[in-house]
């Protein structure tokens, strides 16, 4: 198979605009399910890019032309004048409640495309004017261009924006090897400092944490980010899609070398052998491989009073807030930045960890408690087709399916890679059924928790 490449022509066929925002398929444990990109692709070529893995394996993506969203329609919608059925629904469930918008789910808000096209600039202005809470996940340097800096400087007093900058190493050399087309790590530290100095909430996004790469400069990277003013660290480990096409194998070859695994064959074997098979074909290493690095970052955050966040299914219980992106539970400078979802398992796992380490009680988790009716979008048929699971559903199921239906099916199917027991790999274990017939899970204390507690690490702290 030939590696897909992009062109910057106007789309000849299909819809004119890219459809975004959408509801994340990771909604079971995601605090910011409203995820947004303003281009359908990203100009960077990070060799670990999970968006590339998903998109290059998606048979529905046949047109590789670059498309952007309809910024005018989105600006009108955010301002209370929604355009079209989709925007009306997003207004109803999210914008009208000023629900935190996550910009940068499958692409970079400030990549080279934005530098050329500036589609995002008026939208940024509208978000600022509406005091709309927004978290940017990015690496791109367009943010440092004058127009953007002026804009962020202007809204820095109201602090409705937060930023997380992705880094896998502090070494500029290694960065150039792995993150082609991305500003050097040292420049990203400078961007963090610029935004921190403006007074914004900034997070070091330690994702993906690549064994053999990120651990090499971890201490220096944490220190540099701390000096640059971060208030949180969010980590998640690199995982491998077993459906490796030719383009992915090219990238895996680079990563195999960087990780100390030699070649693609050894690379695939390493991930196959060390990933719990119950999690399915997206191979995430088991928690034993990750423990040393997690402990280092967690204790660093405790020491420096930073928010530790773990987006990885392993050690997710250690999150210090209910948001695994590292957003704060409380943010007095602008309470709107607290407006992310608690109806998800990251929040409940964190609460279960605290309960256990404070009074020794193992929290019971029911489906109805975790996914309460507060999360109104879960019950709207309109959003059902946003979920990746629809690819395995019949037409009849898709017509009436909601996110809640899909999540309930995963919750109660102990063979599903997305069931809480399999996904968190024994951190939640099934113990009973509730009155609605849904499985009840309970928090399972693990050996590492007792060991860490004996070493003096306080796991009863928020």
């Amino acid at each position: 198979m030939k590696t897909k490449s992009l062109n910057l022509r106007k789309p000849e066929n299909g819809p004119q605009y890219y459809g975004s925002p959408r509801i994340s398929s990771e909604v079971m444990d995601c605090s910011m399910p409203l995820t947004f990109d303003h281009y359908n692709f990203c100009s960077m070529k990070c060799r670990y890019c999970f968006a590339y893995f998903f998109k290059s394996n998606n048979p529905a993506i046949t047109d590789l032309s670059l498309r952007s969203i309809n910024a005018d329609a989105m600006i009108r919608t955010i301002s209370g004048d929604p355009v079209g059925a989709r925007n009306k629904k997003i207004w109803e469930h999210f914008y009208s409640k000023k629900f935190l918008l996550h910009w940068g789910g499958l692409a970079d808000p400030f990549c080279g495309f934005e530098s050329k096209r500036h589609v995002g600039l008026p939208l940024l202005k509208a978000l600022g004017e509406n005091n709309y809470p927004t978290l940017f996940s990015f690496k791109g340097a367009t943010l440092m261009e004058d127009d953007y800096l002026k804009l962020f400087s202007k809204y820095s007093r109201q602090k409705n924006f937060a930023f997380q900058v992705s880094m896998v190493t502090l070494s500029d050399e290694v960065g150039a090897y792995i993150e082609v087309g991305v500003p050097a790590p040292s420049y990203r530290i400078k961007m963090i400092k610029t935004l921190s100095d403006m007074g914004y909430w900034t997070i070091l996004r330690l994702r993906p944490f690549i064994m053999g790469v990120t651990d090499e400069t971890l201490d220096e990277l944490l220190d540099a980010a701390l000096k640059a003013g971060i208030q949180g660290v969010s980590m998640e480990f690199f995982a491998v899609d077993s459906r490796a096409n030719e383009g992915m194998k090219d990238r895996y070859e680079w990563l195999a070398k960087a990780m100390g695994l030699g070649n693609v064959k050894s690379f695939m074997k390493y991930f196959r052998d060390l990933s719990p098979p119950e999690r399915g074909g997206y191979r995430r290493l088991n928690r034993y491989v990750k423990e040393e690095a997690v402990k280092k970052v967690f204790t660093f955050c405790q020491k420096h009073k930073l928010v530790f966040a773990c987006s990885d299914p392993d050690f997710k219980e250690l999150n210090m807030s209910g948001s695994c992106c590292g957003m704060p539970d409380k943010y007095p400078p602008n309470r709107l930045l607290e407006n992310w979802s608690r109806d998800q398992l990251t929040y409940h796992l964190k609460e279960a960890r605290l309960l256990y380490h404070r009074i020794g009680e193992r929290k019971l988790l029911t489906f109805g408690e975790v996914y309460s009716t507060r999360a109104s979008y879960l019950d709207d048929i309109h959003f059902g087709n946003d979920h990746v699971a629809v690819t395995g559903m019949t037409e009849a199921e898709r017509v009436i399916g909601t996110y809640r239906n899909i999540m309930q099916a995963h919750w109660n199917n102990l063979r599903s890679p997305a069931s809480p027991q399999n996904y968190f790999h024994n951190k939640l274990v099934p113990v009973d059924y509730d009155e609605d017939g849904n499985i009840v899970y309970t928090y399972e204390p693990m050996e590492y928790e007792i060991r860490w507690a004996r070493e003096g690490i306080d796991l009863a702290k928020r």
């Binding site: 070494s171 050399e173 290694v174 150039a176 090897y177 064994m211 053999g212 790469v213 651990d215 090499e216 090219d250 070859e253 680079w254 070398k257 960087a258 990780m259 100390g260 695994l261 030699g262 070649n263 074997k269 390493y270 052998d273 060390l274 990933s275 719990p276 098979p277 119950e278 088991n286 928690r287 034993y288 491989v289 256990y356 380490h357 404070r358 009074i359 020794g360 009680e361 193992r362 102990l414 027991q421 399999n422 790999h425 024994n426 274990v429 099934p430 113990v431 009973d432 059924y433 399972e444 204390p445 928790e449 007792i450 507690a453």
Partner: protein, 141 residues
């Protein structure tokens, strides 16, 4: 020739190539975390850090108590697995919640339970009378 080698060859002599050479030296150096190389470390991980199996669903598991004392329901922090095992011989445990917190002094309770286990004490559930037992003799307490 691998893709990586091909790229490196193309990049030779260019700024990219020099940067890659420096990166290669960095990537091949001994791990800063200890005396072993990252290759060796990956090998050791692959050998030593296999994932655990998934635990079976506990619903319907045998929770029958050994004794016939089934009427009382209490919440106790037992402190250790040994204490839990002893306690569960005499009392039905509906849910064992594990332990990772300090516990109150339960020495008296466990001295009592140990005496029951040895047979020095027995309790008649119908008459609700506790007996001290010595040989075949039972003395009402």
């Amino acid at each position: 020739m691998s893709i990586l080698d091909k790229y490196k060859k193309e990049a030779q002599g260019t700024a990219d190539g020099k940067r890659l050479d420096r990166a290669g030296k960095f990537l091949n150096k001994t791990s800063s975390g200890g005396p072993i190389s990252k290759e060796k470390r990956r090998e050791l991980e692959a050998t030593m850090l296999k994932p655990d199996p998934i635990k079976p669903f506990a619903k319907g598991a045998d929770q029958k108590p050994i004794s016939n004392l089934t009427k009382w329901s209490v919440q106790l922090v037992l402190g250790s697995d040994e204490n839990y095992e002893l306690f569960s011989k005499f009392f039905k445990v509906n849910q064992y919640k594990g332990a990772n917190v300090g516990y109150k002094q339960l020495a008296v309770l466990f001295a009592f339970l140990k005496a029951m286990e040895r047979g020095n004490l027995s309790f008649d559930l119908e008459t609700k009378i506790l007996y001290y037992c010595k040989g075949k003799n039972k003395i009402e307490l």
